[in-house]
Each structure stands twice: as C-alpha cells, then as structure tokens.
Amino acid sequence: MTTIVAPKAAPAREVEKDASMVKQKEMMAAHYDRLTSAPKTGEKVVSTFVPGNLNELIMCFGLLNNLPEVNAIQSGLRRQSGAYVLEAEKIGHSEDVCTYVKSDIGMMAKGNIGPNGKRLPDPDVLLLSYTGCFTFMKWFELLREQYKCETIMLHTPYMGDGKITPNMIEYMVKQFKGEVIPALERISGVKFDIDRLREYLKKSVRAEDDLVRVLQSAKHKPSPIDAYFGGIYYIGPIFGAFRGTDDAIEYYQFLREEVEARVAAGKGPVTPDGDMGQERYRLVVEGPPNYTNFRQFWKMFYDEGAVVVASSYTKVGGVYDFGFRHDPDKPLETLAEYCLGVYTNRNLPMRIDMLARYVDEYEADGLLINSIKSCNSFSAGQLLIMREVEKRTGKPGAFIESDLVDPRYFSAANIKNRLESYFQMIEQKRAAARAAA
C-alpha cells in the first residue's frame, strides 16, 4: 500500500513590526479588554464614529469609547467580515450598501465577539456624531433599533462652500450645550466639568503635534514611513479611544522618535517583510484601504518599491497637518471646528486642493485612488478628483477599486495589473522628462 505523505506547510513568516506598532497593538488590546470587561467593572459604554470622534468630551463623563468602524476593520483584518456581511444580507440588508454597517450588524447577529475573542458589551448610549458621512445616521438608527438605547444626534453641517461659518459653530455649540452634554450627564451620572475637558484638550494638542511631525516626515527621501499602510497604524490611537490621554502623548512621542531615528539612518518604512528596499515610486493615495487582504495589498506596493508619502484616509479622523489643533481656551468651539474639518466633511474642491498640495509638497510621482465600493462619501466624485489633480500637478493619476471589509470586491490580479501599468506610466513620464531635459 502506498502511503501518501502530505508535504508540510512552510511555517508562516513572522510579520515584522516596528516597536511603535507593537506598542500600539498593546494599547488597542488593553482597550478591548477594558471594553469587554465593562459589564463586570460597571463602566458605561458609548458607541460613536471616528470622524467627529469626541473622545475628550466622552472621557469627561467617565464613559468608554467604542467605535463600530474600528470593530469592522478588526473583523476585516481577521477575515471575519465576509461572513458578517453575508449574515447581514441574509437578514434583509441590501448588497448595495456600506459594508462597515453590514459587518457590524452581522457581527452583532453572531454574538458580537470582539477581536479579543470576548463579547463586546451593548452600548449604554449611541453618540451619533453625524460628520461627513450620510450612512452614519442610518447606521445608528439601525443600531438603536437593536439595542433600544438612548441615541444622541450631533449634526455637523457640511462645508459645502469650503468654509466654516459662525452659524455652523454656533449651531454645533448649541447642540453640545442643549443636547449632547445634558444627555451624557444624565446617562453617566457625572456632572460636566469644562476644566476637565480643557485638560484633555491640552493633552490632545501634544499628541497632534507629534502625529503631524510623523506624517510630514514622509517629505524626506527616502520616506521613513508609509503614510497609508503604515499610516493606518499611526492614526489608530488618536482617531480612536486615546486622543486626550497620557497614553497617546507617550505613543506619539515614541513614534516620532522612532521615525526620526529612521530619517537619521536614511531608512525607508518598515513593511511586514522587513525594511523596504529602494524607494522607487512616491505616491499620494486617496480613499480608504481594503482590510480583508491588507497585507497582500500592501505587498503589491513595497514589492515594487512604491511608498505612499501622503494619504487622505489618514485625515478622516481629523486634519491636523494644515495647522488645526484643539484649542483648550475654546473647548466647545474647538470640538465643533474639529468635526467640521474632518476630511470627508470637506467639499470636493477642498479635497482636490489638499491632494494636489500633497503631490507637490511631498514630491510624489502621482495620485492613486483606491475607490471603495461601499463608501459613497469618499467615492462619489473621485474620477473628477483624479482628473483635476492630474491637471494641476502634471503628474499621472491611477484608479483601482476594492472594498473596505467585503472580500468579494477584492480582486488581487486586477489591482496588481493596474498598479503595474501605473508604475510603467510613471517610468515613461520620467523617461520623457529626462529626454526633454
């Protein structure tokens, strides 16, 4: 009898991480443990969104910040979101709509198990910070239907004319005073202390300063960071539950020092396969990434020596690199200004200006758009954005399509083909420029 011996699978290669990524992972793990322990510890939980995340205000009431978008990302990275999306579609949600929502709803239907393998608690309150995305409103109406908990709407007007008006600020401050703060006081049993808020905001500024220095380090050649794939790790704490904390200050200081050391050593970014080789292409990327095949997606870039030097996605939880900082002297007004200024709350001409500026200031080879099937807030208008940025910068643009957390919309071969064509196009442009010189 012949015995067939199956070949042993090669051991999975250890993913390389820089020290800041390890630290960030520990912070996130501790936060999830705190969240899943909330039913035991008695801490109350508020669910809210990354754009318009009011972490400093939430902390004033001793509430724990839970972000369904981040949960969906975690599900995507762990390859669980596909099943969650299908579950949501099975119970009546359209295949056409946002997969973050469906991943969240599917996760809830399957027991709401968080990334630490424990059940996430039901929220005590939904803080519907309606900022830059229409779907947010429906998402929390859908969650409210399930959890039957109190829901607070904070409406951030859209910057349709590309500016923040006094009327917008006044409207938002009135909502803070008349709706948000009284409701959070009632739910938490904690009286609002504006000086406490000021203290948290002071801490936010310190972390924001360091974040900006990290992001702007990509102006160096070679860039010491990847401002899209790596950038997603960098924004985690400040866009999540850590803005305004000592942990965030420590993390961003640590990260900045780490990045400065890479600049001094003339090193490029750390990728999952170790230090990136020679930097061949510098790109600006518009749009969120795909999370279900995140590592595979990133590899398509670093294998070709492509590094992302600036991205719009790392601005969805706040745009800090043009000067905005939370202002402790105007605590409520500054929260309003923060919400109004997040990337997806900016009109298309503002987004085009930003991206064209990134291409110029970071000396990029062009703009790449990753268009996300289920995110109209980002995606509607991106083809015009690409053309306008190409026109203004004279640099070529490219367009790929995928989805955030729905694996059905990630076509590796298709994306790889397009990227390779794009890199060839950049080479041709360079050759033409050399010939003309």
Binding site: M137, E145, G160, E179, N347, L348, P349, A380, L383
Partner: protein, 395 residues
C-alpha cells in the same frame, strides 16, 4: 388604467404634462426665461429646497431629477464608478451636453453623500453657475436647529439677491409663501382625490401632473392641478378590482414612468407615494404673517414629511409615517421600490419593513434604475403581491 380619453379634457392636460416630461431640453423653462429680460432659472435636486425664496427673487425654480430612461448617458458615466446610482451621472450628462446651459444656479440639498459631492463637482465643472449645497438641520428644536436653518435660509436669500442685483425683500417672500401654500393645498387635494378614487386618477397621470410642477411657474402649475382635478372627476372610467398600495423609496432617482404604469397594470392602485416630495414636503400652510424665514424654518421643523434623509429622534416614531400613510389612504400594502445603490432608501428599508411587519401590513421590495427597461419581472412581482392581498388578506 382607462385609455378611452381621446379628445377629453383630461387627455389634453396629461398630453401637455407628458410633453413637459419628455422634453429633456426644458423648452418651457427656456421660454419662460427668454420672455423677459433679467429672468433667471435656479435648478434644484431632490429632496427639498424652499422654492419660495427662489420665487421671491423673481426666478424660476427648476426641478432636476435626472435624465430618465430616454436620455443616452455618454459623458456622465465617465464621472462615476459602476456602483454609484444613476441620477448623478444623468444629471451631469444634462449639464455637459448643454441641456442646462440656461440655468443660472443649482441647489444641491442635503439628501445623501452622492448629491452632496455632486455640489462640489458642479462648482468645478460649471464655475460660472451659482452653486449652493443646501444644508438642513437634523436637530428640530427651534432655538438650535431652527436658528441654524434661519441663517441658512438667509444666506440663500442673500445669494439669490446678489444674483438678481437687488436684495429679496421679506414682503416678496411673504407673497411667495402664500403662492406656494396654495400650490401645496392643491397637491394635497390631488392626493386625497386619488386616494379616494384611484381609478379616476391613475398613478402615472398624477405623477405627470406633479412632475409638471418642476418645470412650470408655480402659478401655472396650480392652474394645471385645478384643471386636472376638475377634468378627472368628470371622467368616466371603470373601477377595477385592484388592490391599493403605497409606493415608497422613490423620493430621489425617479422610476421610469413605465414602472408606475406597470404597477397599475399588474393590479395595484397607487394611493400614496413619496415621489417628488418637494411638492408637498411641508405638510401644512406656512404662516404668512411675521418673519418669513422664521416661518419657513418652523414649518420645516414641525410640519414636514418624514423620509430617509431626515433623522428621527424618537425610536417609537420611526417608520410610523408610513403606517399612517397606509391607514390614511386605506391602503392594503406597501411596495418598496428603491433605486439601486441608493443609500438612504436601502439603509432605511429594513427599519420600515420591521415597522410594517409589527403593524401587519404586507409589503414587497424591488430595485430599479431610472433607465430600467424591462418591466416584466416587476409586473409579475407586483401582480403576485396584488393577488396575495386579494386572496389572502383578512384570512
């Protein structure tokens, strides 16, 4: 639907409305503008803008609801990915092809991210046009959302005044509010009439009459509704053994006219709908005395339609507007017709369906695009739904 209208007054009115509907060059609006110097046309998209302010400036509000199923979209598709709905691409087609070259301003109301982003695209593509994203409050307290909205209205009024070269006065606005109050009363009357005797006012006719209001000056539109009501009431048409349904989800991208006709051919009288909500967004007369902007704001906060683009602060109240619409129109079921890739309609749908289920109201759902051509599946689905209601309701 009865077809023996040859030569009747109704046929003549519907013929005119159909011609306006078919005209993708907006000839009527062009002629209105050309009839006197200084006239301007302000386009607006769904779901709601205060047309009173445009009217008060002496301008013509022109409703733009996409290109329908007769417009070949050539350029528009180059601006959008395949997973974006149809209305922005056909609207861009209208713009790029010069069909809107007489339009002096465009308003993009707060309804969804696609229309929101289209406002920025329009600014870039048509830089000489007055473009405004029209935001509305999601907070319904007078001193919070109300104040914000009054400022937004004032900015719009100021912008249109600048376009005219002379500020719009409160007196002009009060007059326009009264004119639109009259129009809304007539639209409500039209809907009440149809709910009472849908065989005399078929869904497709009511739609065309309503749709004419997007192109005609309001005074002419009011006259058209009056004429139609009188003509339809005197028409002799057979009452069919159809079921009575509320059509919902159709508040932005428009269904093809054939879809509305198909529902009735399949045995469903449409007795209420959320088509062209701008014509009846405000559900009661707006006060004509006092501060007109304040009055428009109060009407918006306290007397306006519920729809997916509006936040409903009260969980118990969520979806009840649909149950009330069913009861009010004595309907037997609801048809959810949602445009493909329409975030507001499709995200809202499961919540509304849960409310209907709790209220024991039957429903079906399907999707469409403004250029859908194949109606047979919809007709079959609607026909089965009608049969099931007729055969099994009450058992």
């Amino acid at each position: 639907m009865a077809t023996s209208l040859n030569g009747s007054k109704t046929a003549s009115i519907i013929g005119r409305a159909q011609a306006l509907f078919d005209d993708l060059n907006f000839t009527a609006a062009r002629e209105w503008k050309a009839a006197a110097p200084g006239r301007k046309v302000i386009g607006y998209m769904p779901i709601y803008v205060p047309r009173e302010i445009i009217h008060a400036a002496g301008f013509l509000p022109l409703g733009i609801v996409g290109g329908g199923d007769q417009l070949e979209v050539i350029h528009g598709d180059a601006y959008y990915q395949s997973y974006i709905c149809r209305i922005p691409r056909s609207t861009i087609e209208l713009g790029v092809s010069g069909r809107l070259d007489f339009v002096d301003g465009m308003l993009f109301p707060s309804i969804c991210d696609v229309i929101r982003n289209l406002s920025g695209m329009w600014k870039i593509m048509f830089p000489s046009v007055y473009v405004r994203y029209f935001d509305v409050p999601q907070n319904y307290r007078d001193e919070i959302g109300g104040n914000f909205y009054v400022h937004e209205l004032a900015e719009l009024m100021e912008g249109l005044g600048e376009l005219r070269g002379r500020p719009v006065s409160e007196e002009e606005l009060r007059h326009s509010i009264a004119v639109y109050n009259e129009n809304r009363r007539l639209v409500r009357e039209l809907y009440t009439f149809r709910a009472k005797c849908p065989w005399l006012a078929p869904g497709a006719e009511v739609y065309l009459v309503l749709r004419a209001g997007l192109v005609l000056p309001v005074e002419e539109h009011s006259a058209l509704i009056r004429d139609y009501l009188a003509a339809a009431a005197s028409e002799e048409r057979p009452m069919r053994d159809n079921c009575r349904i509320v059509l919902t989800g159709v508040f932005c991208e428009q269904p093809p006219l054939n879809l509305i006709k198909s529902l009735e051919l399949a045995g469903c009288y449409v007795v209420d709908d959320d088509l062209l909500l701008v014509t009846r967004w405000l559900t009661a007369d707006v006060e004509t005395e006092g501060n007109p902007l304040q009055n428009l704001a109060l009407a918006f906060l306290h007397h306006s339609e519920s729809t997916a683009a509006k936040y409903e602060p009260d969980l118990k109240e969520k979806g009840q507007h649909l149950v009330r619409a069913v009861r009010r129109a004595n309907a037997e079921g609801v048809i959810f017709a949602c445009p493909s890739f329409c975030d507001p309609a499709l995200l809202e749908r499961p919540m509304l369906q849960h409310v209907l289920k709790d209220a024991n109201i039957p429903y079906i759902a399907f999707k469409y695009a403004e250029n859908s051509g194949q109606m047979q599946p919809i007709r079959e689905q609607a026909g089965t739904f009608a049969d099931s209601i007729k055969l099994w309701s009450g058992t």
